[in-house]
Structure formats: C-alpha cells, structure tokens
C-alpha cells in the first residue's frame, strides 16, 4: 500500500505545481465559451430564439428580475420552505438515526420499513398534500422534510454503526460513562456520515420545496415558474431556471464545504493526491 502512495504522490504534486495558474483561467474560459455557444445557437437560429432565448437575453431578464421585490419575496419563500424542511428533517433524523444505529435490535426491527419507505419518491405525495393540508407553507415544509429525512436517517445509522468498537470498549473499560462515550466517541465518529447525509438532504429539500411550489402553487420560485409557463413567458422561464440553478449550486457548495470540514480529520482526506 505504501508503494502506491509514493507512486501517486509524485505526479500529483508535479501536476499541481504546473497547473496552479492555469486552473482559474480555464474555469473562466470554459464558462465563457459555453455562454458564447449558447448565444450563437440562439442568434443564428439553430434553435429559434423563441424556444431558446439567447444567453444575453436570459441574463438580462434575470438582471431585471433581480431588481423587483416580487422576485426576492419568492426567493425568500423558497429558501424558507427549504430551511424549515431541512431543519425538521435534521431534528428528527439525527436523534432517531443515533438511537437506531446504537441498538442492534432496533435497527433490525425498523430495517424493512426504512428500506421500503426510503426509495418512495416524495413527489408522489403531492396530490395527497394538495387535497388534505392544502396549498400552503405547511404542505411545502412537510414535503421537503419528508424527502430530506430518509437520506439523513440512513447516513446517521451507518455512521453510528461504523464507530470503532475497540475505541468504545477501551473507553468503557476506563470507566468512561455512557453520556461521555456518546459525546466523545460516537458523535465525532458519526459526524462525517451525518455531514454527507446533510449535503444530500439539503439538495433533496430544495428540489421538493420547489416541486411543491411548481405543482401546488405555494408561494416561491416554483410558483413564478408556474405563472411564467401559463402566460408563455419563455424568457422568464430561462431566467428563473438560472436563478434556481444558482440557488441549488450555492446550497450544494455550502454543504460540501461543511462536509469537508467535518471530514478533515478522517483518514479518507489524508490520502495524498486525491
């Protein structure tokens, strides 16, 4: 194993030294060229401007949208639905996951229900929510929380199960109390898994908050998309998709950074050259 690491180290460091200045340049060029490509296929009519407004038109629309308070209220509504859904999911999934992960009996008792409920697409619940809770924030938050709950629960269970038993036994034989063992050993070693679960769930919660807005008409960016679609405002659809995409990207990058921090001490981050 040691020999592979050495072999992997040399080209990696050389590569990094050579490429330090190039990376941001390529990054900018890559995005610029994609935008130019988008502009060209629209302006030259490869795809008609009615179906695909040029990049400049779409970003212009987005820019003028950003000047309106209506957009920002909708944006805030989406973020609120996302945040509440994710928070409720975390408050429920992490303690339940820790409980189920700590007990062999409990985890096998709930194994089948979890495996069965986990792959159910939460979007299937939209019609039920629409007709029972109704078109409001509660529906949106319920949907986001329901969707975000499962990935986080499963990750937490794995994390707690993955605790090094030697560390746990050692602590026990040194007379470390149950509570202390939990705070000092179980939680820190499950933290990277929980962080990964949070990253996955944060994306799921946004998708479901947006889905609720699009299909049920609860206020938010999804509702704006719904309006733009009904009134045939194609340029707005593109501008809104961009806005939603950037929100998704911000959430993804933010939670990836948290995950990296939580993983900092973990062996997987120590390997050179990955």
């Amino acid at each position: 194993m040691a020999s592979t690491e050495v072999a992997g180290t040399l080209p990696a460091t050389r590569e990094r030294r050579r490429g330090r200045g190039v990376e941001p340049v390529v990054f900018v060029l890559s995005i610029l060229s994609a935008l130019v490509f988008w502009e060209l296929i629209s302006r030259t009519g490869v795809i008609s401007q009615r179906d695909l407004p040029a990049a400049s038109t779409s970003f212009n629309e987005l820019w003028s949208m950003l000047q309106t308070s209506h957009f920002w209220w909708s944006f805030a509504d989406t973020v609120r639905g996302w945040f509440l859904g994710l928070t409720i999911a975390a408050v429920l999934a992490i303690p339940i996951g820790i409980l189920l992960g700590s007990s062999e009996l409990a985890s096998s008792a709930f194994h089948i229900p979890i495996e069965f409920l986990r792959p159910i697409p939460s979007a299937a619940l939209i019609p039920v929510l629409f007709l029972t809770i109704g078109t409001n924030l509660r529906s949106e938050v319920f949907l986001a929380a329901f969707g975000a709950f499962w990935p986080l629960l499963v990750q937490t269970i794995y994390g707690v199960k993955d605790v090094d038993p030697v560390a746990l036994e050692t602590a026990r034989s040194f007379g470390v109390g149950r509570f202390e063992r939990f705070w000092r050993i179980k939680l820190p070693s499950a933290a990277p898994y929980i962080a990964t679960g949070l990253r996955i769930s944060s994306t799921v919660a946004l998708i479901l908050a947006f889905t609720a807005e699009l299909f049920m008409g609860t206020p938010g960016l999804g509702q704006l998309v719904n309006y733009a679609q009904s009134y045939g405002l194609e340029t707005q659809l593109y501008a809104l998709a961009l806005a939603t995409g950037f929100l998704g990207l911000a959430i993804h990058l933010g939670f990836s950074a948290i995950e990296k921090r939580a993983l900092r001490w973990h062996p997987s981050q120590r390997v050179v050259g990955t």
């Binding site: 080209p11 697409p121 019609p127 029972t132």
Partner: protein, 258 residues
C-alpha cells in the same frame, strides 16, 4: 446468542406488520374519505394494477424509465471515462457538470417542453435521461480517477493500445463505483418519471396520480402512491441483485484482501 437472533428476526417481521396494522386501525378509526382504509387501498391496488391497467399505465412509465436510464448509462460512462482520464477535460467540463448536477429537476420541466416541442415520450425520456446522467457521470469520473496510477503507467509502458487499456483496465476498475452511481440513478429515474408525467402526459403512473387528484378520487390516488413505492423498491432490489452478480469478482477480491 441464538435466542437473540430469533428475537431479531422476529422483530424484523413483527414491526412492519405492526405498522401496517396500525395504519389499518387508524384509518378505520378516522373513517375519512381522504384517508381510506388500508384494506380498501389494497383492494383498489389489486383491481387497478394486477393487471387491468398495468399495460395502459405502468408499461409506458417503465419504458420511459428504462430508455432514460439506458441513455444516461451510455452517455455517462462514455463521457466519464475520457473526463476521468484527462485533467484538461476535467478542468473544462467540471464547472458545467457542477452547475447542472445542482439544478433542481422540476425547474427544467417547462423548458424541456419548449425546447423539444414535445409533451410525449421524447420530452419525458430526455428529462429522465438528463437528470439520471449526473450520478453516473460523476461516479465514473471518480472511479476512473481513483485507479492506481501505477497500473495505468504499467499498461502504457507495455504498449497496450488505448482502447484495450480502457476495456480491460479502466472500465473494470471503475465499475464498482459506476454501479454505485447507477443505483442512485435508478431511484432518481422513478422520481423524474413521476415529475414528468405529473407535469404533462396522457398516460403513465404519474398521469393516474394527476387525474385522480383532479377528480378527487382518493382511493385510486393512494393505490397509485403505493404502486410508485413498490416500483421504487422493486427496481432497487432488482438492481442490487444484478449488481451483486456482475460485480461478484469485486466482492471476492475485497474479501481476499480483508
């Protein structure tokens, strides 16, 4: 110890049954048309899906999932290998991949309809394929990148031609991770199928959901939800089974290392 095992297995069976019993008892107690009894839902499920409407609604949905996934697998592996092997390709493509993978799928639903001039199969398959692409693509890239560089260098110094290197070394070495990406995509395919059909369609499971909502028919709606759950579960199990067979060599190798 065996007593504990028996208790575990007993719980594994008893708890799901208890949950179902509680559902039935609660819905009987509630006696509401919005939450029909579990037994009513199951009878409806049998009447609808076994198999009178199976051909009209389930088969089209399955075809869309299958075709969308197939495209995503071919494109994902086809793009993932060159991107994984080349640092320049990664530098050029990763910003775009990172943007699109973070895009919430429903935001693109109306756009796919406009761009493709279609509310039929083309639009649905394209929508499913596009979003199923990213887990496969990202995992292929990761899988290819984590191949021991010594192996790649050795193969190169033995003058093994590129396509042979990819077929015999890169693809097998990355396959466990590609499979992991595919498993994520299977679940995603069911989700995107429901979204696309619920948005606009004339048949499929998502369409049944939409129509029963519009006509306030709660029992068919719940039966459709149960079907979607069963579909997600069964596809996941089938995939795990196939993965275990195809990647049997990998498990064996890992077991021998441990």
């Amino acid at each position: 110890m065996s007593q504990r095992r028996a208790l575990k297995i007993g719980l594994e069976i008893a708890v799901p049954l208890a949950i179902l019993a509680a559902w039935q008892a609660y819905t009987v107690h509630l006696d509401s048309s919005k939450f029909p009894r579990l037994s009513t839902i199951l009878v409806e499920f049998r009447d609808m899906w076994l198999f009178s409407q199976f051909g009209t609604h389930v088969v089209p949905s399955l075809e869309r999932i299958g075709l969308g996934l197939a495209i995503a697998v071919v494109v994902g592996i086809g793009l993932g290998i060159p991107i994984g092997l080349s640092r320049w390709a990664r530098l050029w493509t990763m910003p775009h991949i990172e943007f699109w993978r973070a895009m919430p799928p429903p935001a693109l639903l109306p756009i796919t309809v406009i761009l493709l001039h279609s509310i039929g199969n083309t639009q649905k398959v394209a929508f499913i394929a596009f979003f199923c692409l990213f887990p496969i693509l990202l995992n292929t890239i990761d899988g290819v990148r984590s191949i021991d560089p010594t192996l790649l260098e050795t193969a190169r110094s033995y003058n093994i031609p590129q396509h042979e290197r990819i077929r015999r070394l890169v693809l097998p070495a990355a396959s466990p991770q590609i499979a992991a990406g595919m498993r994520t995509s299977v679940s995603l395919a069911v989700i995107t199928m429901v979204l696309a059909e619920y948005f606009s369609s004339t048949n499929g499971v998502g369409y049944v959901l939409l129509i029963s909502k519009n006509t306030f028919q709660f029992t068919p709606m719940w039966a459709a939800i149960v079907l979607i759950g069963v579909l997600g579960y069964v596809l996941n199990v089938l995939f795990l089974f196939a993965e275990r067979r195809v990647l049997a060599w990998h498990r064996g190798w890992r077991a021998s290392q441990a």
